[in-house]
Amino acid sequence: MNVVLSLLLIALFVGAGVWLAAVVDRALGAWRAGARPDGLFMGPLREAAAMLVRPRAETEVTDALFRLLAPGWYLALAAVSFSVVPFAPGIVATAPSTGLVLWGACEALVIVVVFIHGWAPNSPFPLIGAYRYVAIGLPAMLPSMFVLIAAAVPAESLALPAVVESQRELWNVVRQPLGLILFLAIGLTITLRGPFDYADPEDLAGGTSAEESGPALALWRLARLAMLVSFSAMAATVFFGGYLGPWLPGPVWLALKTLAVMFATQAVGHLLPRMPAPRMLAAFWLVALPLSFADLLLVGLESLA
């Protein structure tokens, strides 16, 4: 019963979250461009409908299977990574003792999905985007696991329900603010957003999506937003105490915290410029990775004390 309830909640979170994320994206984009958003709440639905009525473009000698699968696989990764997030004590789709590892695996597979999405259409821009994302993605995923392990140390467990319960006294964001900052950067990378959008940027005319149109493009955009919702729910669970909170029921607290993280991630995405790829790689390998070690070390020392 609880599994069915949590599956319904996942569908509700992802469905409503994707729409809200698209609305927020529109509002932030208009704000940054100094214009009025055009049809704020209905806009995303209209854009989706406009994409769905357009046909799919064919390219020469495509990898047809990969081209078909990539957007669906991305969406599936978003859904699977959501399945370990607890909505209330006992209400979780699946609670393996290694929930954080499952989430990390989904996150790492995003590299593969983005690569095959760029590989499949047999076209230079998507391929350049795909190669570049692999180069950026690898050093971005490494700090992610250190940060998540650091968050699991106070709980002495890799299971998400235990991680939430360990935050009853004190949220992890207070114990490890550095971890949250690194985790937000990772969220930008796995949703191809703002400064870390090396796969689908303007300088490649849309990169891995440059040859996509119609329903496939709509699904790819949907999957990117679904991954953002999933990431935000995970960040809310690991750093902001997940479903914990007074008066309101657990899922409502989780929804509010997820929304706050989602809004912050999107705002950062709209505010920061994109560095040339070699510079960003240096930043990941030489700054983010050592910082994630330091985060883990500090948390380890604190737990010994």
Partner: protein, 313 residues
């Protein structure tokens, strides 16, 4: 009922338009990007309407036809201040194209307008079958131009001495991240440019497209920041995103120096080094930043002078 509701939603959506910019069309297209009711997309695949703004001329006609064929059907063309080279509606350059674009979008949606047929034959442009070791036109399992797409051969990588595949292709003249009209043949290894050669020079543009703020806006768009927020760009973080020494020209100025000057409202020195020299060894994104950091007219002069009679290259 569901179908009607669906096309009603799509009909009230912004019309997806790909803009191919010709002579004196850039300022009008950049102004159009801010208007509600249409969305300027980055790739022709995502568009239903091809907007040809300004006269592209006969030299790039085939490239324009190729862009046209890349729009998925049903598609249509609007010639805005350009003499029609093929089917489509035409309006004068001083007419507001928005009402026409909206009408074309709705007509395409409800089937009142039949889409335009492909202009180029759908066949490999190069003979390749039966040539080379495996009948693909190249050596070993590489090289050749099957389906008119050159395949890579291995060559030494200038970065680390490993052998990697250089890939040569033509880019432009209607790519949104390049100056309109600029067509180049670029050889890349991974995303690094090892050779670039201009095939067509950028189109001349009206003064409104050549102001410092228009140039700064283009550079900021490439950095992933919406182009109009110049006030935000004064924030030093923008300069942290650009490495110092990127795209140094004969005057010792780099991309940072040029952006800095534009944001303070000054024009830059109107000269640019030859394209091959400017882009050699840069990664794709850096190369686009360097190109966007030069004045359009300077780029145009640089390409034109490289093509000057007497220099056969």
């Amino acid at each position: 009922m569901a179908v009607a509701r669906h096309s009603f939603l799509a009909g009230s959506a912004a019309a997806p338009v790909f803009a191919a910019v010709g002579e004196n069309g850039l300022a009008s297209v950049e102004a159009l990007a801010r208007r509600p009711g249409l969305r300027l997309v980055q790739s022709p695949r995502q568009a239903a309407i091809l907007l040809v703004a300004g006269e592209p001329g006969r030299a790039v006609e085939e490239a324009l036809q190729r862009v046209h064929d890349q729009l998925p059907p049903p598609r249509t063309t609007l010639w805005w201040g350009a003499r029609p080279h093929f089917e489509g509606e035409a309006i004068l350059s001083n007419t507001d194209p928005l009402p026409t674009l909206r009408t074309l979008w709705l007509e395409l949606l409800d089937g009142a307008r039949r889409g335009e047929a492909a202009l180029l034959p759908d066949e490999p442009p190069h003979p390749w079958r039966g040539l080379g070791d495996r009948g693909h036109g190249g050596e070993g399992m590489m090289g050749g131009t099957p389906y008119g797409r050159p395949m890579a051969m291995t060559a030494e990588d200038p970065r680390d001495g490993l052998t990697l595949d250089p890939y040569t292709a033509r880019y432009g003249p209607f790519l949104p991240m390049l100056p309109p009209g600029l067509q180049m043949e670029i050889t890349t290894q991974g995303d690094m440019i090892v050779e670039a050669r201009a095939l067509h020079s950028p189109f001349g543009q009206e003064p409104a497209a050549l102001t410092p703020s228009a140039h700064a806006a283009r550079l900021l768009r490439l950095l992933g920041l919406p182009p109009l927020s110049i006030r935000g760009a004064r924030w030093r973080g923008v300069f942290r995103a650009i490495p110092p020494g990127l795209g140094v020209d004969g005057h010792g100025d780099d991309v940072r120096a040029r952006l800095c000057r534009w944001l303070s409202g000054e024009a830059n020195a109107p000269s640019a080094p030859p394209l091959g020299e400017m882009l050699h060894g840069l990664e794709w994104q850096e190369a686009m930043l360097v190109l966007a950091s030069h004045e359009l007219d300077a780029l145009r002069l640089s390409v034109l002078s490289a093509h000057a009679p007497g220099e056969s290259s």
